[in-house]
Each structure stands twice: as C-alpha cells, then as structure tokens.
Amino acid sequence: MKKTLILGALLLGSTLSSAFAGSGPIKIVLPEEADLLEPCMATRSNIGRVIMQNVSETLTELDLRGDKGLMPRLAEKWEQQSDGSWRFNLRQGVKFSDGTSFDAKDVKYSFDRVMSDKNVCESERYFGGMTISAEVVDDNTIDFKADPVQPILPLLLSLVTIVPEETPLEFIRKPVGTGPFKLTNWTPGQQIVLTGRDDYWGAKPSVTEATYLFRADPAVRAAMVQTGEADLSPSISQLDATNPATDFSYLDSETVYLRIDHNIEPLNDVRVRRALNMAIDREAFLGTLVPDGAVLATAIVPPPTLGWNPDVKVFPYDAAAAKKLLDEAKADGVKVDTPITIIARTANFPNVTEIMEAIQAQLQEAGFNIELKFVEVAEHEQYYSKPFKEGRGPQLVAAMHDNSKGDPSFSMFFKYASEGTQSGFSDPKVDDLIKRASAAVGDERAKLWSEVIALVHDEVVADVLLFHMVGFSRVSERLDYKPTMATNSTLQLSEIGIK
C-alpha cells in the first residue's frame, strides 16, 4: 500500500507534475550533512534545515516570511500571568510520529531534557543567566516560571523542539516529532529522506517526500538544480546565481563585522576605532565582492529585528578624515603605528579572503599598519571568544553573527556586555542598558534596544560593522518557493509548493 503510494508520488513528481500539479517528492541539496538529527540541536542550521518544523515542532514559531510575529504552533495560545510566569494552552489531538499523543508532559520533558546535564543540547544556551521551571497544569496546559521574569519566553520557546517523553536523555539519531514529516531513511554520507505523515494535525503539505543530499561545493549544488538532480539548493554561490528564473537572493540573518579588542593600545582609543570605521569604503563592496542586495550594517542584528535603529547611520567613507583622526591620536601619544592583525576564518563566508584583503588594503591606505591572518575554525574560536590570550597584540577578529530570532537579546549580551564571551570591551553604561532592555517588554523593549544599538555604534564605537549578508538559493522552476531570512536555519517543507 505504502509502496504504491510512494511510487505514485514519484510518478507524479517526475512525469506528470505539470498535469496534476500540487504534490510530489522533492530533492534538496545542502552544503553540509547533519552529523546528528537530534531535536534539541535543531537550532544548528545543518540539523535545523532538515528537522526543524518538519519533523520536530515547537510551541511557538516566529514568522520571518511575513510580519505576523510570533505565531502559535503546538501551543494554541499563551499569556503572561500576574506573577510573571507564562501559561501555554496546547493544541489537542496531536500525535507523534510513533503514534503516542502529545501532551503537556511531553513539553515539560522536552524542556527538562534540553536543560539536562546528561547531554549538551544547543538550545540550552538561550536560557543562560535564568532559571526556568516548567509545571504541568493539565494535559493541555503548562506553566513556565522564570527567574528573572522573561518577557520573551514565548519567543525562546520557539527554539525548543518537542520530543515524546520516552526519548532518552542522550543524543538520538532517529528523531520522533509531531511535525508533518517523519524520518524514513538516513544513509549517512548519502541521503536523508523525510516522508509526509498521514496523521499530521495540520494542513497536508504539497511535498510528499523530501530527500536531502549533501555537497560541499557550491558550484556542484547549483549544477545539481540546473541538471534536475535536485529541486532546491538553499545556499549557492553568488557567482553561480545567474539565472533569474531559478535563482533568488534573500537577506539572510548573517552580519559580518570586525570585532575590536578595546583592551589593547591603540585600539583602546575611540578615535582610532572611529578611524577604522571611516577608512573602509563599504559601498565599494556592494555588487563586487558582496552581493548587491546586501545591506550596510549599523547593528549586529539585521533590520527586521526588534529595536533595530533606523536613525543610526553608517560611518561615511572618508579616508582623509580617518587619517586626521589617527594623526590626532598619534599627537596624543597613542601608538597608532603598532601593527594591527585582522584575524579571519577561512571559508567563513563567501569571498572572505578577497573581502579581507580589500579591507586590509583600504585600512592601509588610511595609514593603518594592518596584517592579515587566516586561521581555521578551531583556532578562530580561540581568538574570538574569551578568555583572550595574554600578551596578544592589537587584533580585529572578522566574524559573522547570525540572529534570525527577531530579538537582539540573542546577540547583545554576548557581543557587548562586559561578561559577554565575544565582547571586546567593558562599559558599565552598555551593561546597564542591555540588562534593562532584556527585562523590558513591548515598546519599551524596542526603545531600549534602539538605544543600545545607537550607543554601541556611535559613542563606544564598539566594532567595525560591515554587512548584513545576502544568501542565494536556486529553486527549480517546478517548485513554488521563495526563500526568506529563515532559510538560513530552517527549511519548512510545508512552505514549498509544487507547480
């Protein structure tokens, strides 16, 4: 029975798709294979793109396609209680793919599993600096209590995937979830196959089966969609994105910047940091080394994020002014001639070597003494995160930060607070503002985040923000799909239509 269904679907997909439009199997080619299919690791993109919302669902879901904000998924509605805790009313009649039904106990178990010290779930990191407990009220109701009070708890819960209570604490390789698809085949190194579920609670997606393939080379990925070996490649190279009929660019949530280490002379001088910012001709990169659609960054978070500040302006490119600032600093005894090292990660983002070489050249033009050093990922991490090495010279760490969660709190603390692991400075005013913003709600929250963004950019001149990057997807013409910012980390099969 099942076999004939798949066979039928295959037929539909391959030969009769135009006649009987609507449903069928598809093939998706990704750059990197998932090493696990662990639901609590679904916030990592190589895992998330396969299982997030396809196999494993969350209570809430952030709409990155439209502007609906936070939408219900497994939770039907939620509200903040007077004591600051949050109550979630769960959807009823939902079944896991193993046949068990979904209830509040599963939610509690899923949350506790994330926080367990028997494993290292990635989503645990969003709950740092707070204690949260889940209490089952009844089968369909659950309360989350947080200390300190978490205004964005529903948003945070869009990052926690729900697994059945029977799931072991250790990492698993065969996820069971409530989503519209279930894992039917995983041949490591070759493919992962998700098959549509008949007993899914929601609308049935047009995609009946999705096969994931993995190719490291972007040119090969693009070629595969072109030759029909795959239907969708969510990340191809800008260079290969030459066919307007199939290739889409989308603002992804990645922000490229140079993290400045304020602790070391001459970078401890704000004039020097400002000069760095003014010496880079960001415009010149657009349409050359950086795709045309990229946006010059004024914050570490991309524009759709809460509190993004339109009043903060990009530093103007003015090499002469930069030089002047440097001279001023020099006159005050700042050792501006000290060689400054840019540390970048190989293959961190497209054209990283060329971009960094160009930045080096531009900074040198303005009178800086810049060295460039490329390192592999493990070494890069040592430069990027604390504790920093003793006895280091002045350094700029080129990095890319991803925040598609809609709220700056996922970035600001780490990058700018004194305690933040990637923060290159310590400023009590910034610390205080971040703390207040994290606790605030509504417009107040947006306003405070805007203040942080302005303060960090204009006064502290914390870092050299460069670009909000653009991603490219190649989508076969038989699909009806428009990639969005979310495509970077999730790829909901239910959003894909078949023509």
Binding site: D240, F285, E354, E357, L372
Partner: protein
C-alpha cells in the same frame, strides 16, 4: 651481441661547463626547459620587489577582467583577479613563494630522507628496524592531520608549511635510498673500496651516494610537482598558505569558484605549475643521462651530429 668498444684515444675532454652546455644544446627539449626554469628562477628572485606593489594594487571596479586585452599594459594580458589585480603580475610575484615552498619541502625531505635511508641501509639491523618503523608511522599518518597539528601548534607560515609538506615526503626518499643502498653495497666496486680500507663514510658518500643520486634526482623532480599540487590542495581545504601571501596553488584554489565565469583566474597559475613541472621532468631526464659517464655519449653524439 657485443658492440665493439673503441680503443682509439679520445682527444682531451673539454671543460665541464662547456661539455654540459654542448650536451644541453644537443637536447632541444631540455634546452627549452632549462631556459624556462632559469627565467622562472630569475622571476622568483626579483619578482616581489619588481612587481610587488602592482600585484597587490586592488581595483574593485576592474575585477575579473578578461585576458588578452592588448590595449593595456602587459601585466594585464592575463586578465585580472577577483580584486582587480593583474594576474600576470601576481603569477610573477607568487613565483618566489611557490618555488620556496616546493624547493624547501623537496630539499628538506630529500636530505633528511636520504640521510636516514643511508643510515638504515648501512647500519645494524636494529637501527634499520627503528628507522623503517618510523617511516611506516609517518607514511600512515594522514598528511592533513600533520598539517593541522603543525599549523595549529606552530602557527601558519611558509616555513611551517614547508615543514608539513616535507615531513610527509620523507618516507619516499628514505625507502628508495635504503633499497638502493642495500643493493649497491653488495656491488663489486664497493667491495673493492673496502679492500682498500675505505671507511664507511667514504663508501657511503663517495661510492654509494653518487649511484643513488640520479634516482633521487628523478624522484625529487617528480616530487616537486607533487608538492606544488599538495600545497594547492591544502589551500583548497583551507589549511595551507593563506592570503595575503600568494602561491600558484593558492591562486588556483581561489580561482576555482570563478571557474565557470572567469576561467582565467585558475587557468594561468595551473599552466604555470604544469609548465614548471614539465620542464623539471624534461631537465631531470636530461640530467640523468648527462651525469652518467656511461650514457653521456648519446647526447654528445647528437650534439656532434646536429652541430
């Protein structure tokens, strides 16, 4: 069939350099190769000071300029790279690093490998065993892991890259040398030297090494190509030489992504590697004959006939 050997007195032999020159003239392929390599060598020495500035001058508006634009200066004849830098100039500047890495790695591994091979072939079975097991370990040690370890612990630099590449090639020389030594040490002329009371050192360096050397030279020239490609592959995997340093291998791997829309980025450096290794091969074939007194006549005869 024995070919009668001549007993007529050959006139006094000309000076070594003159002889080599004549023999080179006799083999036109080797001559071209030698000329090409001399040019490459000169370029390697003067390249960075001569064109260093031009090769790093960026022009984002003139990126991926196609080649064969004869209107512009000769440095632009090969086109421009992704940052608008002239490819011809970059290839010339990259010559120094490329040759330094390749020659450094080949020479280092050849010297260490040969010395160890001589020792292994000529000393007690126990030392021989130790050296051979060591060679086995290095052989099965993934070269990528060596690269990651060395570059991580010692930092990424040209010198360390030479180190990485040479470590992985040591066993090749070691094994070849040892095998040859084991065979040559039984030859009559080695026995004859021993009867005269020659020391082990003398036997190794005066009698065995010269016989092994042609084999090693051939191996080394082949390795030259191998090392250049390995360096390129490391760059491809992101653990080799990194910008702003340039080598031909790095240029190929950087140009790789433009293969479909700007093929010249990776073609020219690739051609440079192929021509260099081809020349080295031709020259080493010639050298093997020219340095062998028994074979030399082939070239000298040809020279006479041609001249």
């Amino acid at each position: 069939m024995t070919i009668p050997s001549t007993e007529t007195v050959i006139p006094h032999e000309p000076h070594f350099v003159v002889r080599m020159g004549r023999m080179l003239w006799a083999d036109k392929f080797a001559l071209c190769a030698a000329i090409f390599l001399v040019v490459v060598l000169v370029i390697a020495i003067i390249g960075p000071t001569w064109l260093g500035e031009l090769a790093t001058k960026q022009n984002l508006r003139g990126r991926n300029l196609p080649p064969f634009d004869w209107e512009r200066g000769w440095v632009w004849w090969m086109g421009a790279d992704a940052l608008g830098r002239p490819l011809f100039a970059r290839i010339i500047v990259a010559t120094q690093n490329t040759l330094m890495v390749a020659a450094g790695a080949v020479v280092l591994s050849a010297v260490i490998g040969t010395v160890l091979g001589l020792v292994a072939g000529f000393s007690s079975p126990r030392i021989n065993q130790v050296i051979m097991r060591l060679a086995d370990v290095i052989m099965s040690f993934p070269s990528l892991l060596i690269a990651v370890i060395v570059l991580y612990v010692l930092g990424s630099s040209i010198l360390n890259l030479i180190l990485v590449l040479s470590i992985t090639r040591i066993p090749v020389y070691l094994r070849t040398t040892r095998a040859e030594v084991l065979e040559i040490r039984e030859r009559m002329f080695v026995q004859a030297a021993r009867v005269m009371g020659a020391s082990n050192k003398r036997i190794v360096f005066r009698h065995i090494l010269p016989v092994v050397l042609p084999t090693l030279t051939t191996l080394a020239t082949l390795d030259f190509a191998y090392v250049m490609l390995a360096e390129s592959a490391l760059s491809f995997l992101g653990i080799g030489i990194q910008p702003p340093e340039i080598t031909w291998g790095l240029m190929i791997s950087q140009g790789r992504q433009y293969l479909t829309n700007a093929w010249w980025l990776s073609l020219w450096p690739g051609l440079a590697i192929i021509l260099t290794t081809l020349s080295l091969n031709l020259l080493s074939n010639w050298l093997r004959i020219a340095l062998d007194p028994v074979q030399r006549w082939r070239l000298e005869m040809k020279g006479r006939k041609n001249g």
